[in-house]
C-alpha cells in the first residue's frame, strides 16, 4: 500500500536503556540498545533525544559504540539532562540519529583533547583510532575527575586535582604538544577551551578539528537556528552546526566571535 512509511533510516528510534551510571557528582553515562545507531555512528556525530516536558529534542554526542549498543555522556544541568538521569534499565527513549558529520580519521599521530562532557566524542574517537592502530594521545580535562574508564595513552587534567595533573588545560597544553609532537589535534569542549586549543595549534602549524555545540531547534538542518560564521577565503559564510558540522576545522571558525 502506498501509505506505508519508508525511509525511516534515522528514526525516530524507540531505544532501550541498558544502563545509566554516574561518572562523577554531576556527570553520567547512558547506554542504549540500538543496532542501527550503533552500526552507523561515527565519532563527532550526535543523537537527538526527546526529553519529558520539553518541546525540542536535546543533542548528545555519541560517546562510544559496543556491538549493538551506544553510549552518551551527559552533565545534569537542566530539565532534559535531569530527565535522562531518571531513566532506568529497561525503560526506553525516543532518539533520532546519528546526525551531523563526524571527525575525519587520518593515519597521523593525533592528540585528542576533551574538556568536560566534551570528553564524550573524544572518547569514541580514541576507541576508533585504537582499533585502527593509529597513534594517538588522549587528554581529558574537567573540573573534577570524570571516570570514563580509559587509562592507556590518557593524560588527565583536573582543576581540583582529584586525579592526574592539577590545573587547567592552558597550563599544560604546550608541554603536552612538545612531548607528543602531534600532526593532528581533535577537540571538543567549552568554546573558550576549543578556541585556546585551536589558536595554540595554529602557532605549531598543526591542523585541528573541533566538534562545536549550540542550542538546536531542529537538529536536522532546516531551521537555521544554529548557524555560525565560517571563514571562506576572504569572506564569511553561515554554516549550520547541526548539519554542516558539528565538526569544523579549527582554522575556519571565527573564535573571537561568541559562539
Amino acid at each position: 500500500m502506498q501509505l506505508k512509511t519508508q525511509n525511516k533510516i534515522k528514526g525516530p528510534h524507540i531505544v532501550e536503556v541498558l544502563s545509566n551510571i554516574k561518572l562523577s557528582d554531576d556527570t553520567w553515562k547512558l547506554t542504549f540498545q540500538n543496532q542501527e545507531i550503533a552500526e552507523n555512528a561515527k565519532p563527532g556525530q550526535f543523537v537527538s533525544i526527546l526529553c519529558e516536558d520539553l518541546l525540542l529534542r536535546r543533542p548528545f554526542s555519541v560517546a562510544n559504540t559496543i556491538n549493538n549498543s551506544f553510549e552518551i555522556i551527559y552533565k545534569v544541568k537542566g530539565k532534559g539532562t535531569k530527565y535522562l538521569s531518571s531513566l532506568r534499565n529497561g525503560e526506553s527513549a525516543d532518539i533520532i540519529g546519528p546526525m551531523g558529520n563526524g571527525f575525519t580519521i587520518e593515519n597521523k599521530n593525533s592528540l585528542l583533547i576533551g574538556c568536560g562532557v566534551g570528553i564524550a566524542p573524544i572518547n569514541f574517537l580514541s576507541n576508533i583510532l585504537e582499533k585502527s592502530g593509529i597513534k594517538h594521545s588522549f587528554v581529558a580535562c574537567s573540573q573534577t575527575f570524570i571516570n570514563t574508564g580509559i587509562t592507556e595513552n590518557q593524560v588527565i587534567i583536573t582543576e581540583d586535582g582529584s586525579a592526574g595533573l592539577e590545573g587547567r588545560l592552558d597550563q599544560h597544553l604546550k608541554k603536552i604538544i612538545n612531548e607528543v609532537k602531534p600532526e593532528k589535534i581533535y577537540t571538543c569542549g567549552p568554546n573558550p577551551a576549543m578556541a585556546y586549543v585551536s589558536l595554540t595549534a595554529e602557532k605549531y602549524e598543526i591542523s585541528v578539528e573541533a566538534a562545536l555545540e549550540r542550542d538546536f531547534a531542529c537538529g536536522t538542518g532546516v531551521c537555521m537556528g544554529c548557524v555560525i560564521q565560517i571563514k571562506d577565503n576572504n569572506k564569511t559564510i553561515n554554516k549550520r552546526i547541526c548539519k554542516d558540522g558539528p565538526v569544523f576545522r579549527g582554522n575556519e571558525v571565527l573564535w573571537q566571535c561568541p559562539i
Partner: protein, 309 residues
C-alpha cells in the same frame, strides 16, 4: 463503505490539487531534502519552502532560537538561498522526487514581491504563499500584513503578475483579522494561510541581575494553538476562499480542531523539529480514521466536524 476502498482525502486550494490536506510550514522543513532520512516526503500533501527572497539573505545574528514553555521563539531573519539559487539547485530535486511544494516568498518592497512573482510565473511555479507576516525582518513582511490599503495593493499587484495559485499568509498580530482576510480575498488571493509566528520576547534574569540574555522574535509551538484556532474561527465566516490553518499542531486531534474551526488544510510547523516524521504519520492516521469512521471523503469529515457559528 468497504474498508478496502481508499478514502478520498484530496483537497483543492485554488488550482492546486493536494493529494491530502497535510502540509509542512515554511521554515520548518527546509527544501525537503533534510527529511528524506525520516519519511517518504512525497507522501505528504505539499511542503512549503523556507521563505525565499529576491537575493540571498544571511539572516539575523545569534541568538536565533529560545525554547519557552510549550513554545519556541525564533529570530532567524529569513536566511535563504535567494530565488535564483532555489530555481537552479532546489527546484530540480523537488521535481525529481515528485514532491508537491508551495513556494513561500518574501520581499522588502512591493516591487520586490512583484519581481519574485514574475520569476515564479516564468518558471511555472504552480503555487506561491506570500509571506506578509514574518516578524523577524526590519523592513517589509509584517508591515505589509498590517494595514488593509497596503495589503490590498500588494496582493492585487502580485495577482496581476502571477496566474497560478496564490496563497496569502496572514499574521495574527493585527486588530481585525477578518478585515485582513477579506482584503486579501478582494486582492485576488486563492486561499489564506494563518497564522504565522506571534511576536514575542524572552528574557533570562540571572543571579547577579546583570547582562540579561534576551531574544525577540516569533513564537510558535503548541502554546499558540488557541490563538490560531480563534483567528481562523474569526475569519472563516467572512471569506469564501479556502483556509490553510496552522499554529501549534502536534497531533491528530489538533488537526481535527483546525478543521472544526474552519480550516480546509493544515500546516505542521514547529512539531516537525520534535517529531520529524509527524506529517507522514498524520497522513496515515487520517486515512485510518476515515476508514474506521466510514468516511468516503475529507469533505464529509470536515462537514461533520465544522463548529457552527
Amino acid at each position: 463503505m468497504s474498508n478496502l476502498i481508499k478514502p478520498d482525502i484530496s483537497v483543492n486550494i485554488g488550482r492546486l490539487k493536494l493529494k491530502n490536506p497535510i502540509l509542512t510550514a515554511s521554515g520548518t522543513f527546509g527544501y525537503a531534502d533534510e527529511y528524506d532520512d525520516f519519511m517518504n516526503v512525497s507522501n505528504i500533501g505539499a511542503i512549503v519552502t523556507k521563505g525565499i527572497t529576491l537575493n540571498p539573505k544571511t539572516g539575523n545574528p545569534q541568538p536565533r532560537i529560545k525554547e519557552v514553555k510549550n513554545g519556541l521563539i525564533n529570530s532567524i531573519g529569513l536566511e535563504n538561498v535567494g530565488i535564483q539559487d532555489f530555481i537552479d539547485k532546489k527546484l530540480p530535486a523537488l521535481k525529481e522526487n515528485n514532491i508537491d511544494f508551495i513556494l513561500n516568498i518574501a520581499g522588502a518592497s512591493i516591487e520586490e514581491y512583484i519581481e519574485i512573482a514574475k520569476i515564479c510565473q516564468s518558471n511555472n511555479i504552480e503555487t506561491v504563499e506570500l509571506n506578509l507576516s514574518c516578524p523577524n525582518v526590519k523592513s517589509g513582511c509584517l508591515e505589509f500584513g498590517k494595514d488593509e490599503k497596503t495589503l490590498y495593493k500588494l496582493v492585487s499587484e502580485v495577482r496581476k503578475n502571477f496566474d497560478n495559485t496564490l496563497i496569502v499568509k496572514l499574521s495574527s498580530n493585527v486588530s481585525f483579522p477578518e478585515k485582513m482576510a477579506k482584503t486579501a480575498e478582494k486582492g485576488g488571493a486563492d486561499a489564506i494561510s494563518a497564522i504565522n509566528t506571534v511576536k514575542a520576547m524572552n528574557i533570562d534574569i540571572n543571579k547577579n541581575l546583570k547582562g540579561f540574555k534576551s531574544i525577540k522574535g516569533g513564537l510558535s509551538g503548541s502554546c499558540i494553538k488557541p490563538l490560531a484556532l480563534n483567528f481562523i474561527y474569526e475569519i472563516r465566516q467572512h471569506i469564501a476562499i479556502p483556509i490553510i490553518g496552522m499554529g501549534g499542531i502536534s497531533c491528530f486531534q489538533d488537526m481535527l480542531e483546525f478543521f472544526a474551526v474552519g480550516a480546509d488544510a493544515v500546516q505542521i510547523g514547529t512539531a516537525n523539529f520534535t517529531h520529524p516524521d509527524l506529517s507522514d504519520t498524520l497522513v496515515i492516521e487520517l486515512n485510518n480514521f476515515m476508514k474506521q469512521q466510514n468516511y468516503g471523503s475529507l469533505a464529509e469529515l470536515v462537514r461533520d466536524l465544522r463548529y457552527e457559528y
